[in-house]
């Protein structure tokens, strides 16, 4: 159930966040309109409710929400060692 919810949230959030960014970028760089997205009540809620709310969330809260989702990022992954600023020789 949780996996199905996270999949549904991921698919839709990715789709509508990208659509919003693509609309902005297409207007700025190409003078074109946004993607040919679907119409209707549900797409409208994602566009006009979810996307603005997502962008108004504090970045830390947004990151916490992302990290709370199930997935590979919650398992152990090595991080690169910190950069050394000392000379090589």
């Amino acid at each position: 159930m949780r996996a199905r919810f996270s999949r549904w949230l991921r698919v839709n959030s990715e789709r509508y966040l990208l659509e919003s960014a693509q609309t902005e970028m297409a207007r700025r760089y190409l003078g074109r309109s946004g993607p040919a997205g679907e119409r209707g009540l549900v797409p409208s809620l994602w566009r006009h409710l979810f996307v603005p709310v997502y962008h108004r969330l504090p970045p830390r809260l947004r990151q916490s929400a992302i990290e709370a989702m199930p997935g590979s990022h919650r398992r152990h992954w090595q991080t690169p060692p910190p950069r050394s600023h000392t000379p090589g020789i």
Partner: protein, 438 residues
């Protein structure tokens, strides 16, 4: 190993290397392993003379290496508690360790007519050989979706002398990955090559009786003899999901740095897995062939009792589209904007060689960095040459925490035939810092 693509074969080789006594068996549904599917569009486009050139190893080489490959053999189920797989025609096969490398499927276009003949999904080399003969008779083709494969197929079919239409629902090509200013030269070169593009246009149906004769879109009908369906990749996790393995939000298998899945003794690698993006930890799936092969090596080594770790990814990428090379690493402006990641940006238009040297090409570099510490978080590029090398370099730069200040003062190779006096990466970083000072 279940799957004979880059991940499965990488895993098989690594397992034998880690434990030369290990009995390694690879099950593949297809007739071949060890070829480059990524090279198929270039054979269609006649840049590569034959499909034989795409094969990396002979079947005998695997026999000699002690790897038992079962061709055209389908694994129908996995029982992780009994450590067995069911193989069609061969019954139950036990295992000590299992590596799943089941790859991807193309997303269903989700429109009527998807069962018509004449719809080409580029994947298997034997089918590609058959389709290559069909292409000799094709005059008009439609490519559906400006995905990485879609870009390569558009260019390949045009090289072949076929009239090509590209249909994509986004405002510019590769819009889920690349920025519009980066793709602009590609669009212009396609127009020069006679390719017709239909952006912000959705496919509504494939039309025809038995075989496709047209594509109906939101902007009207496009007549064609063939449709190359290049919809985005989706992880193939049917077998693993049925066995109860954990699947993440991308629809791909959850793994750790050892490429171990949620089931004991079961590893996974390649397009069927998801990995965290190293900058923001968001899991992503269906990366490149080089990612799949490297993950396969890790999974195979660990499956055979060795110890090897993979890492979160920065995803350097690049490809040829039209008359240009495009590429990048980590985030572009579009993706960073979508995710709400704050960034500062610098852009430079430079050249690939000394301005007077024959063959000099334009190179545009765009860098994105954190506003506070100016650490690089991504880059995008378009140019006539040298894009792959810059994407690889910038991938390492993001990974090691290089800043705009580092890049602005970097030393660069200057030699008229291979490098200009000013390196565009450095100039882009200088421009970013200048705009911050204003």
């Amino acid at each position: 190993m279940v799957g004979g693509g880059a991940a499965g074969i990488g895993a098989a080789g690594a397992a034998r290397q880690a434990d030369p006594e290990a009995a390694v068996t690879v099950f593949t549904e297809y007739e071949d392993v060890a070829y480059s599917p990524c090279g198929i569009p270039y054979v269609h486009g006649r840049e590569i003379p034959s499909f034989e050139a795409l094969f990396l190893q002979s079947k005998e080489a695997y026999v000699t290496a002690g790897i038992d490959i079962r061709y055209e053999t389908r694994v129908s189920s996995v029982d992780v508690s009994r450590r067995e797989v069911q193989v069609e025609g061969q019954g139950t096969v036990p295992y000590d360790r299992l590596v799943l490398a089941t790859g991807f499927d193309y997303a269903d276009p989700g429109v009527p007519g998807a069962d018509l003949a004449g719809l080409y999904y580029v994947k298997n080399i034997r089918r590609a050989m058959e389709w290559d003969t069909v292409l000799d008779t094709v005059k008009r083709a439609v490519v559906v979706e400006a995905s990485p494969l879609g870009l390569e197929m558009v260019t390949a079919l045009a090289h072949r002398g076929i009239t090509v239409h590209l249909v994509d629902s986004h405002p510019w090509p590769l819009a889920e990955l690349a920025d519009p200013d980066i793709m602009r030269p590609v669009e212009e070169s396609w127009a020069e090559m006679g390719i017709t593009t239909h952006f912000n246009t959705r496919v509504e149906a494939f039309l025809g009786e038995g075989s496709v004769r047209a594509v109906r879109t939101t902007e009207g009908e496009i007549e064609c003899d063939l449709v190359a369906v290049c919809t985005h990749k989706q992880p193939n996790t049917r077998l693993a999901a049925a066995a109860g393995l954990e699947v993440g939000s991308t629809g791909a298998l959850v793994v750790d740095e050892r490429m171990a899945t949620s089931a004991a003794g079961v590893f996974a690698a390649g397009d069927c897995t998801e990995l965290p993006h190293a900058v923001n930890r968001v899991p992503i799936a269906c990366l490149t062939g080089s990612h799949a092969y490297a993950q396969g090596k890790v999974a195979g080594t660990n499956a055979a009792g060795g110890s090897r770790a993979y890492h979160a990814v920065y995803v350097p990428w690049g490809l040829v589209a039209g008359k240009w090379m495009v590429g990048g690493t980590s985030f572009g402006e579009t993706l960073a904007t979508a995710l709400g990641i704050p960034f500062v940006m610098g852009v430079a238009d430079g050249i690939s060689r000394a301005r007077y040297y024959p063959g000099v090409k334009k190179v545009r570099v765009k860098l994105l960095a954190e506003p506070a510490g100016h650490r690089l978080i991504g880059a995008q590029m378009v140019g006539g040459e040298g894009i792959k090398e810059r994407a690889d370099f910038l991938g390492v730069a993001v990974r090691t925490g290089i800043t705009l200040e580092d890049l602005a003062t970097m030393e660069n190779v200057y030699s008229p035939p291979i490098g200009a006096l000013n390196e565009p990466i450095s100039v882009a970083a200088q421009n970013a810092l200048s705009s911050l000072r204003r």
